[in-house]
Point group: C2
């Protein structure tokens, strides 16, 4: 049984890669700039991934024959079975057969997975949700991504567009979401939505230490709102607490649907700690069935920035065995 | 391989039973009154189930040796692995070890499952969702029950309290639900909730042909509201259409979460047909991702009143094989 796998986390800005053991530990990790140039097609980026794989093998001082393969976590939508990335706005890709393009360059099997699914798998395989029977993961970023792991297997949906947990509706007459529907949790509780709600409050006249910056058009993001809250800004604190409450309400629904033993939250916003988690857990504890709460843990990501590479490597092990 | 199984549908009013083949067809079915007498414990009802099983075998003209076992669909909460029914308000049961009590009486393996799960399994095994890879089922009755079947297996949750699809929140500041939370779909779209919303409208002064009956305190149920709608009552029609829209909104969330190929609706309310389904499908088609819609079918139950006995028999086959 081959002992190693490479996990790749393909983002619009950086490509991260890791050489990973079967216990989820990382031997060496490395990242390169994605450097997408419009109109050049996917080849330059695919070539950069192949170079990253070669570098990881060299720096790890291992032999290629010890590797089961490579798995790339990519923004979607994509076809995980055939390894085709349908569309990624940041990369300017359209129907890219990533597995077929990368596999000959690295001379081993290449698997492709949705990036949120990869992170969820990573947490269940070697992170916060280790040994969990049912893990629900939310990634809080520009949007709210999701992943579902049941009995150690990702549930991807019938045609790979499941686990869109950010598009569960919590207020059907509420905020317009980027997806075109109203009231999705993503429209309330992503890092971007937090910044947007903050801006609305300030524009409506609420006092805040961030008022001048926001009105001057500065890019006041979730991190800055958190820092202001820590420094005593009341509006910032209220906005983060409200985010926690709304996430808590969404989690109640996931819990009633799945009865999971683990809900993992991922993304920079999670660093807000108690300010986010206390109101979140208050909603969960108040609204969920007691029997569900008996098995439930709600946890921050343990793998953090490495969830993508570790999860992708874990999936390379799992999927290489499936085809073996 | 034994060719037959008995499925039992245990309700507060009736116990229904069926002798079922491996293709889901029913050889003979039969029902008896549940006749619960407070304070007598579960024995009389368990005895009645055993009698029903014996009658089915006799009337079917089959030999007991052809049966894999019995599965009882029961109101929950319950422990499906150990066959213990924790609580059933209508039966006045508390921690009843149904499998252990019934198995010696019928002299074969006895399995216990949540009734909504049983119906979902039945539809996927031999009903509207046959051959589906992922079925989501909603039963519209006093409450809104749910069932999830993925790759032919029920997802029951980590401790058997999953698939509470009626307790997904669609309006977090909305109607108080029986579960104590606000805005669950059950509080809007069960048959009982329809009757309640109708009553509220009438009490608030809306015109309706059912006005006098409602104000006189008559029990105007979903069926009567549907009949009034067919007879031209505008308020009744609006209330049913609104139920369809709200169910549609909930289904959008299930679809975004699961990316299923089949959503099945079960219960008397489904007989409202287009009046319910048209507004429902309009929401689904407007709010879901196009890629999800490509694989999705939203269907009324095919097994209807037999979903309980057929589904339970199907689970008896599956679970008997699992322990074999």
């Amino acid at each position: 049984m081959k002992a190693l796998a490479v996990g790749i986390d393909l983002g619009g800005t950086n490509i991260k890669g890791g050489l990973v053991r079967r216990d989820g530990s990382v031997i060496v990790k490395k990242s390169v700039k994605t450097e997408v140039q419009k109109g050049t097609g996917p080849e330059p980026v695919v070539g950069r991934i192949a170079g990253l794989v070669a570098d990881l093998i060299a720096e790890g001082g291992v032999d290629k024959s010890e590797l089961v393969g490579v798995c790339v976590g990519s923004p979607g939508p994509l076809d995980s079975r055939r390894g085709i990335v349908y569309e990624t706005p940041n990369l300017d890709w359209k129907d890219v057969p990533l597995s077929d393009m990368l596999s000959p360059l690295v001379d081993m099997p290449v698997f492709v997975e949705n990036d949120a699914n990869v992170a969820a798998f990573g947490e269940q395989w070697a992170g916060a949700a280790k040994d969990s029977q049912c893990t629900i993961m939310l990634t809080l970023g520009t949007g709210v991504g999701g992943g579902i792991v049941i009995n150690g297997e990702l549930w991807r949906g019938v045609n790979d567009v499941g686990a869109e947990l950010g598009h569960m509706i919590i207020d059907y007459a509420g905020r317009l979401c980027g997806c075109g529907a109203h009231g999705c949790i993503e429209a309330y509780a992503s890092a971007s939505a937090l910044a947007r709600r903050m801006k609305e409050q300030v524009e409506a006249g609420s006092a805040s230490s961030l008022r001048d910056a926001i009105l001057a058009g500065e890019d006041v993001d979730a991190k800055r709102i958190y820092e202001a809250a820590v420094d005593g800004d009341r509006l910032s604190r209220e906005m983060i607490e409200e985010t926690g409450r709304l996430l808590g309400i969404a989690i109640v629904s996931y819990v009633n649907i799945f009865n999971p033993d683990c809900v993992v939250l991922h993304g920079g916003l999670v660093n807000a700690g108690d300010m986010l988690f206390q109101p979140l857990l208050a909603e969960v504890n108040e609204r969920c069935f007691e029997s569900s709460l008996r098995v439930l843990r709600v946890l921050p990501s343990a793998l953090k920035g490495d969830a993508g590479i570790v999860g992708a490597a874990g999936l390379a092990f799992q999927r290489a065995e499936d085809i073996a």
